[in-house]
């Protein structure tokens, strides 16, 4: 039987293996390696592993500079929202250098941050803000949903010659799953079909993949066969796999932890409403967070988030409404 690891350990394993493999990989950020006992510090030394001050603009900017100078930094940023204080570096600097210099440079930089910590972390620490990083030319975005992908996408991110936002999901940190040992790469831009099905396509990312799978399980009990797709990276986005599925099922439900207008699902819906229009037998329905800052208190927090009930209801709607579209 293959080895199981928690998601968080899988990420660390990937960083460690890549640092062993390539001396130019650096790892720095806040509140890491502050004592000699830190395993990264012990293995790779203080040239390559450093604690930084709470200075995200400088941290990300320094990541860019070190990348321009030939290194491959992984910047630990803890929470995606903390990137907002250095947002210019993320979207208006890192991804533009190569282009503006006419291809003279590369910026191999991994910006690693958690997101979506809807566990009472209230308004400023719970966002699912990956949508802001989509459509930024030159930037890639990875959203691992499983421990294996957490490892494989991190390894790929580190080897990529472009800036990559690697967003791990806080609610998944301790999820266990099979993780291949040794070198393991998950290619960017290749969606995973997490469950095969024929009646409806459900697309989720990160934590909502699990919600979609649970909904699919429940739907199976009703005789509805749902295919569940996890794009794994938002940039590049594997629309081909989604379109293939919709060609088969004719029905699409998108699940997203972000609000409707900030969601990756809107982007996917728009792609399918163009290239996959002729496959569609019913409206594309999105199950997203409600349009509210995430509240602290549990009942309100639960209320605004997507969940299995909402996904199942959306599937019922698109299946039920299929005849309407056929008229």
């Amino acid at each position: 039987m293959a080895r199981e690891l928690p998601y968080i350990a899988a990420i660390n394993e990937a960083i460690r293996l890549e640092m062993q493999r390539d001396e130019s990989v650096l790892y720095f950020g806040q509140n890491i390696a502050t004592t000699k006992n830190d395993p990264f510090l012990q293995e790779f030394g203080s040239d390559r592993v450093r604690v930084t001050p709470i200075s995200e603009t400088a941290e990300i900017g320094m990541g860019i500079g070190a990348a321009l100078a030939g290194y491959r930094p992984v910047v630990e940023l803890y929470m995606a929202e903390f990137m907002l204080v250095g947002m210019d570096q993320v979207v208006n600097e890192a991804p533009r250098f190569r282009y503006m210099t006419g291809g003279q440079v590369r910026v191999p930089l991994v910006m690693k941050a958690g997101y979506g910590f809807t566990a009472g972390w209230a308004g400023q620490h719970t966002g699912s803000i990956y949508g802001m990083f989509m459509g930024v030319p030159g930037l890639k975005v990875a959203l691992p949903a499983t421990p294996a992908d957490a490892k494989g996408l991190m390894a790929t991110a580190i080897r990529d010659d472009n800036p990559v936002c690697y967003f791990q999901h806080y609610l998944l940190l301790l999820d266990h799953g099979e993780v291949p040992e040794g070198e393991y790469l998950v290619p960017f831009g290749q969606a995973a079909v997490r469950r095969a099905g024929t009646d409806v396509t459900i697309v989720g990312t990160g934590w909502t993949v699990g919600r979609a799978l649970a909904a699919a399980e429940r739907l199976a009990g009703e005789g509805v066969s749902a295919e569940v797709i996890d794009p794994r990276t938002l940039e590049p986005l594997d629309t081909a796999t989604i379109l293939e599925s919709v060609a088969k099922t004719g029905h699409l439900v998108l699940v997203d932890q972000a609000t409707l207008h900030a969601s990756a699902s809107a982007v996917i819906a728009a792609e399918v409403a163009d290239a996959g229009f002729s496959y569609l037998k019913a409206p594309i329905r999105q199950v997203t967070a409600l349009d509210a800052t995430i509240p602290y208190s549990r009942p309100m927090e639960e209320y605004v988030l997507p969940n299995e009930d909402k996904i199942v209801a959306a599937v019922h709607q698109v299946l039920g409404s299929a005849p309407v579209a056929a008229t």
Binding site: V85, Q124, P299, M300, Y303
Partner: protein, 346 residues
């Protein structure tokens, strides 16, 4: 008995009031902490305590007049208690209840009481500093002699927002006092690991020099010293003399915050990082020995401002008050789920 303890304007009642507030903050925080063990699951997310900073908080806030304002970080439980906010409403907020100070929308990190001049908090390090500076701009042009206090940690001085704000405040001579609560730690990072001044053995107050602003360092364990320095700065700010950076040296007596874990894993309050991360048990023990709450009690008892019996009564009253806050919080109702979509827009 000394009436003023060398600090102008502090009579006996005020001194006793100061210690009382310190005790109230401590007792509140103790109960927040205990809630993790005694009522698992009631507090969610991330909670940061003010224990150890009581003298600094009370000494600072004692300088304010009605109409003055303040903004703080996520480590925000101490201030409203001193301003007179109901501990019941505060505890209910931390427990996520509808009767909470913010209706359960904000939780521990965002306690706010606008009616008492407490305009809000930011959970993002350093980002409250320009906000408080903007409130000071408003105070300046309103011309009613208001002053704004802006509280933040040592770590926050590494955010660009800190420097950008101090430059403007100094340039515009805004009526604001920046109270830098230097507790030596940013989570598990010691200040000399992230701050060039600290690494060079200089106080963090020298940062004010970059903005041609006065900067002072004060023993944040002594409420009278804090009162003196912050008070002088407040007076200057009120007189149009501009801002001051006051570095208040404190030691937080609990860990940075409760444990961080996905749902399902019970949360707890770990030991202080001095011990768990750095093995610096003696550093922590020394801080405990210097605990500002008993320290100020001893001072007031020694100079006969306060009798031991009265001190005990005050402590007892605070315990009762805060225990009632816990009970109120526990018994209060959770908000209605659908209220989540209220207050999104004005």
């Amino acid at each position: 008995m000394t009436d003023t303890n060398g600090v102008e304007g502090l009579d006996r009642d005020r001194l006793v009031w100061m210690w009382t507030q310190m005790v109230r903050v401590r007792e509140f925080e103790e109960r927040v902490k205990r809630t993790f063990e005694e009522h698992p699951g009631v507090i969610r997310g991330h909670t940061h305590l003010a224990d150890g900073a009581e003298a600094s908080i009370v000494g600072s806030l004692a300088t304010l007049r009605p109409g003055d304002q303040l903004m703080t970080t996520y480590r925000c439980h101490g201030y409203p208690l001193v301003l007179g906010t109901s501990p019941k409403a505060m505890m209910a907020e931390i427990y996520g209840k509808a009767a909470g100070l913010c209706g359960g929308y904000g939780g521990s990190m965002h306690l706010t009481d606008v009616s008492r001049g407490f305009l809000g908090t930011s959970g993002i390090v350093g980002q409250g500093i320009p906000q408080a500076t903007g409130a000071a701009y408003a105070a300046q042009i309103r011309r009613q002699g208001q002053v704004v206090l802006c509280f933040f940690g040592d770590g926050a001085t590494k955010q660009g927002a800190f420097h950008e704000s101090l430059n403007i405040a100094s340039l515009w001579k805004l009526p604001i006092v920046y109270v830098l609560e230097n507790n030596n730690y940013n989570v598990v990072t010691r200040v000399e690991q992230e701050d060039a001044n600290a690494a060079a053995g200089e106080p963090l107050a020298v940062k004010a020099r970059a903005h041609s602003m006065p900067g002072v360092t004060v023993d944040g364990g002594d409420p009278l010293a804090v009162y003196g320095e912050v008070g002088a700065a407040v007076a200057r700010a009120r007189d149009g003399g501009g801002p001051t950076l006051v570095e208040s040296k404190v030691y937080r007596l609990s860990a940075h915050g409760n444990s961080i874990a996905p749902p399902g894993v019970p949360l707890h309050f770990p030991e202080h990082e001095a011990i768990t991360t750095f093995g610096a048990t003696e550093e922590y023990e020394a801080a405990k020995r210097g605990d500002p709450v008993p320290r100020f009690r001893a001072k007031l008892v020694t100079d006969t401002t306060l009798s031991p019996a009265e001190a005990d009564r005050i402590t007892e009253a605070a315990r009762t008050e805060m225990q009632e806050a816990v009970e109120f919080g526990l018994e209060s109702e959770l908000p209605k789920p659908e209220d989540a979509v209220k207050y999104v827009y004005a």
